[in-house]
Symmetry: C2
Subunit: 435 residues, 2 copies
């Protein structure tokens, strides 16, 4: 390592699911982050009461302090990452850290919704960053999109599916025809819902996130008790069925809008949306946020809204933002100096599934001939469609093939084209399954 | 205005569709951008050969120069925005600007794909920004997402629908059953395809953008002639039909992947994707980019990929990025100081469409009674479903209602609940149509 690489010293508070992922990912992505930010991001201290758990996470004993005050009292630390949750101790921790001149990163939407106004005032007063990419939408960079990508836009509206538990429940009610209680029980079995389900299912978590998005969009904090919040409890599957018949899907949405005259609305409730709308296709635990800007029009951001690693990705992006400008100077980060991968595959090397359409004479043995060519090149067939033949005409024979190298597929196609019963050049298309 | 507000001086090269939008939007969003960046972004000079056209765009004569050298020769300018397109003059303009110590913003993917390596080297040498958010995906902040939001991720793969013309053609072939030629002709009539359709339809524009995304993901520039590129020409609608029967949709994809061993693939071709995948629901001129990171998993970015205003939104975000750090110092921009909107509507004030399910006795006159209550509150009915009655039981009556104020809807529901034939508490759900 270059001895002149500056070091950003981090104090990590809390080793829950997200905290443990942040710890692990700062190790696994260390070189990448140094390369991309020009700074080494190093955890110098970890506050966690459960010493045994910290050991299991691989935190060396010498980094461990039992109390968060160990972090704020440490004059060496540049940034505190608050991942303890709750709104009392976390408030004390963050406000103390800012007062002591440390930058703060948090994923705590409940705290921001409740006391964000105070905390950001404090951050401004002490000229410190208070970053919160992980507070909404897990790994989806929605905060950055609103603050930077869409900085030139007045926000016309935001529609968010921002609670994975609720979206999982609604997806299962819709797809498997479950009633609410059964879908909730399944979500708990699958680990997508907490034992205490109230924060998620009754819409409060969505409301906290809505308050954060509204503050970004319109610059003021909506008190959580003034934010209309309706959750899923009491929903019946029959309403999902009728909605579907009418062309609608049902989602728990956070809705944030403003009139041109300046009046804003922020609300959370189950909402019917057209089945053809892209938000309707967001299923399972995925989150999505649709943002309409006055210049850009509609944009949408989609990804996993919870879980250790996705949330850690967001926390690390905040750390990287501070690291990029650390200690002071702005570093130009241009493209083409990373060369993480330096060899481009030729087309022959790629592996894909394929769709193959042949126009064939309708006579026995054609499929056998084609299958023989494919088999000779180790290309498996996953399905065949042969639409009804028209007498005296050629008929399409459509095959879906298993994974094969492009070179083998192309060679097979050339051979197949020579079969007497194949009457037109074969049509091949590649298939992506996103596995 | 605060007299100490710093001014970022911009030279704008080219007043085509995007250039004209940038000019207009810098005026309409001026106060917003000053508030958000702490800097005034001011166009001091515009290079455009067509003086009459510039006048029509509202550019004052004193700002106009006929030749781009007027911009690079002007020592006062801090940033040049290159929107002239092409790969010869634009290269000269950008390299001259960087050499003269100016930051550069461009939307020119063809130039980046062809000579990006040289240009970024030059930018690094002169320690200047070369920003290009507008080069891929129009107003979608995909460049920022890759560079900042996902900075902690190794990029496993990128799948992009990044040419609106092609996606429009494929959507029409699929939805309206058009053959390729007819869909292309329609796209031209609707203004979604250029008279010279080769750049879009043959996949070259997608390939240029794929090269930019690949450079961000893997740090090296793929020479455009080594990038496998297959466009839409020759596609037949029957293959779209068969693909649909097999559960697939057809999209022109840019595919960028890397093996753990460092070998990368970058290719552009029509591709079958599962109909249930969120990318399959991206229709018409919209763009979407799916990025899989090793920490965050799958994330997706969606929006309008072309057009003056969406592209201007991206150009302005690059200007704002430079302005935020201009002249030198990093300004903390915290939340809650904008107060663009300061009044929160009560729930009674919001206006929505509604779904209403009643459990009613199956006897004549019930619908009339319900309709009378709704009409008395000026709430229109857009459709009614009454599933078959079961003798002796209550039967559901489902209504979709037109826009109404929440207060009126709630009052109507209370009144309806009192109708004798309504046997259970009414179920109301709000509807969003994203209009």
């Amino acid at each position: 390592m270059n001895v002149t690489t500056p070091i950003l010293r981090v104090g990590l508070a809390g080793l829950g699911t997200v905290g443990a992922s942040v710890w692990q990912r700062l190790a696994s992505q260390k070189d990448l982050l140094r390369q991309r930010t020009g700074t080494e991001i190093r955890v110098d201290q970890v506050a966690e009461r459960r010493a045994e758990h910290a050991r299991k996470c691989g935190v060396p004993e010498k980094l461990l302090v039992p109390d968060w005050r160990g972090l704020t009292d440490n004059p060496e630390l540049d940034v505190i990452v608050e991942l303890i949750g709750g709104t009392t101790v976390a408030f004390e921790l963050i406000s103390t850290a800012l007062q002591k001149g440390k930058h703060v990163i948090t994923a705590n939407k409940a705290l921001l919704a409740e006391r964000g106004a105070e905390l950001f005032q404090l951050a401004t007063k002490h000229q410190r960053h208070l970053l919160f990419e992980a507070s909404v939408g897990g790994g989806i960079p929605i905060i950055r999109a609103l603050r930077e990508g869409l900085v030139a836009n007045r926000i016309v509206s935001i529609h968010g599916i921002i609670n994975g538990t609720c979206n999982y429940i609604l997806t299962r009610m819709n797809e498997a025809g479950l009633e609410f209680g059964d879908a909730l029980a399944e979500a708990k079995r699958e680990g997508y819902a907490e034992a205490d389900d109230r924060l998620d299912v009754d819409g409060h978590d969505t409301a906290h996130k809505a308050a954060v998005l509204a503050a970004l969009a319109y610059g003021f904090w909506v008190p959580p008790d003034k934010l209309y919040t309706e959750g899923l409890r009491g929903l019946e599957k029959q309403d999902i069925c009728y909605a579907r018949k009418l062309g609608y899907g049902l989602k728990l949405l956070a809705i944030i809008k403003a009139d041109p005259d300046g009046a804003a609305e922020v609300r959370v409730h189950p909402t019917l949306i057209p089945q053809s709308h892209v938000l309707a296709s967001v299923s399972g635990v995925f989150n999505a946020v649709l943002v309409r800007g006055d210049v850009v029009g509609d944009t949408l951001y989609y990804g996993r809204g919870a879980g250790g690693d996705p949330t850690a990705s967001a926390v690390l992006s905040d750390l990287a933002q501070i690291a990029s400008h650390f200690p002071q100077e702005q570093k130009a980060r241009n493209v083409g100096h990373e060369a993480l991968h330096s060899r481009l595959k030729t087309m022959d090397e790629i592996v894909s599934r394929y769709y193959l359409r042949l126009m064939v004479e309708d006579k026995p043995g054609v499929l056998a001939d084609v299958a023989r060519v494919l088999a000779s090149r180790q290309i498996g067939i996953s399905s065949v469609i042969q639409p009804e033949a028209h007498a005296g005409e050629t008929t399409p024979l459509v095959l879906m093939l298993h994974d094969a190298p492009e070179s083998q597929f192309q060679a097979a196609v050339q051979e197949i084209a020579k079969i007497g019963a194949v009457k037109a050049p074969p049509v091949g298309l590649r298939v992506e399954d996103f596995n």
